[in-house]
């Protein structure tokens, strides 16, 4: 556990020094959502209807945007192979890096989301559920994305490949998150959707660090 905290602290410390990276993710999220009223017109009913989908798709793309850096810089400067050679299980190291990724990108997205929901004229009933879906969904995105980020290590044009690998795997999170918000707005119970989102998180939590570590090992075995 001390190894986990040590690596987590280091990654958080690093991203604080390079705070541009985190703020760029949030800026992308905001701009992507702001584009929609310009594209579909400022009709409040239309915006309210599409608000949940637009916010979640933008959050998903923003989260993916920062995934490439998850292992890439450590891979390029040799830190990743030294981390793999420290007496900390590689699965723990990967889990710590995923946690740091979520804290530096997922969490800021959750904080920015209510503002965008107001902007998109989302009905008030959807607000708490939007926060709940993001709270359950963004860690899942970081976890799934870590496998992709580890798989593309060492490849040229890794960023594009990463999105092709990861975006299809994000679809379940998107479906149930939007379903939960729409249910709440329509006066229906959103609990079933939230339970499935929780199930996705609980399933990916042990599997993804393990799969990510295997992919990192593969990348270093060259």
């Amino acid at each position: 556990m001390s190894g986990f905290m040590h690596i987590l602290r280091r990654d958080l410390h690093l991203s604080m020094r390079q705070s541009m990276d985190s703020s760029m993710v949030v800026a992308f999220f905001i701009i992507a959502v702001v584009l929609f009223p310009f594209g579909v017109g400022p009709e409040p009913n239309i915006l309210a209807r599409i608000s949940s989908g637009v916010i979640l798709v933008a959050a998903l793309l923003a989260s993916m945007l920062s995934l490439e850096r998850l292992f890439q810089t450590d891979f390029e400067d040799g830190s990743l192979e030294l981390l793999a050679l420290e007496p900390v299980a590689l699965e723990i190291t990967v889990a710590a890096k995923i946690t740091a990724h979520w804290l530096t990108t997922g969490l800021p997205l959750i904080i920015a989301a209510p503002l965008l929901a107001v902007f998109m004229n989302m009905p008030a009933a959807g607000f708490p559920i939007l926060l709940a879906t993001l709270l359950l969904g963004t860690p899942t995105l970081s976890l799934i994305g870590a496998i992709g980020a580890a798989l593309v290590l060492g490849s040229r044009r890794g960023g594009v490949l990463l999105s092709l690998l990861v975006l299809p795997l994000y679809i379940p999170v998107l479906i149930f998150a939007v379903g939960a918000i729409d249910a709440a707005v329509g006066g229906l119970p959103s609990k079933p959707h939230l339970l499935i989102l929780s199930a996705l998180l609980v399933t990916t939590l042990p599997l993804c660090p393990w799969a990510g570590a295997a992919a990192v090992r593969q990348a270093l075995d060259t």
Binding site: R17, G78, S79, P87, V88
Partner: protein, 209 residues
Amino acid sequence: MPLFSGHDLTCFRGGRIVFGGLEFGFDPGDALILVGPNGSGKSSLLRLMTGLLRPLAGRVQWDGEDIAEEPETHNRRVHYVGHLDAVKPAFTVAENLTFWAGLRTNGEAVQPALDAFGIRHLSEVPGRFLSAGQRRRLNLARLKASPGKLWLLDEPATALDSRALEQLRAAVASHRADGGMVCAATHADLGLDGASTLDLAGFGAKDAA
């Protein structure tokens, strides 16, 4: 049987056999120098010894046990200095070293390690401002900052000036006097008295076939 040994190792990389039928053995205090032409597999052999690479055939053993059985136990014994210096540009020299030392110890040996490689005066300098030689010194300082019985050094003298090379020699000598082991692929004189030499040219693909 030696404490750390490799038996009948075959290394396969990039669609070809780099070396085959290779044997090595170490006991505490020993040093092994790897020589051979470029591409003969010196770096690959060092990576095999760390466990990062898996051999196509053969075994790498510590005290009779395959190192792949307990990778974390093996990692605790090994210090590896590769081609890349793993210096974070945003961290200062002291922060860089404290992170690596902190994974194995509580970091009390960081200052002496900085002294040992003459970079204490750079403690507060961010990694991005270091020269190639200073980055290499910082990478080498990891060796002293936390314990590790087996040092695997891949061209450790790259970019070092004569003074730093002297400091590296002193570090290696004191490590061996304490019963440590060193394996280095190097063309520089590390002052390794009584070191054995392993010429990888003799284990090329033609012998393995």
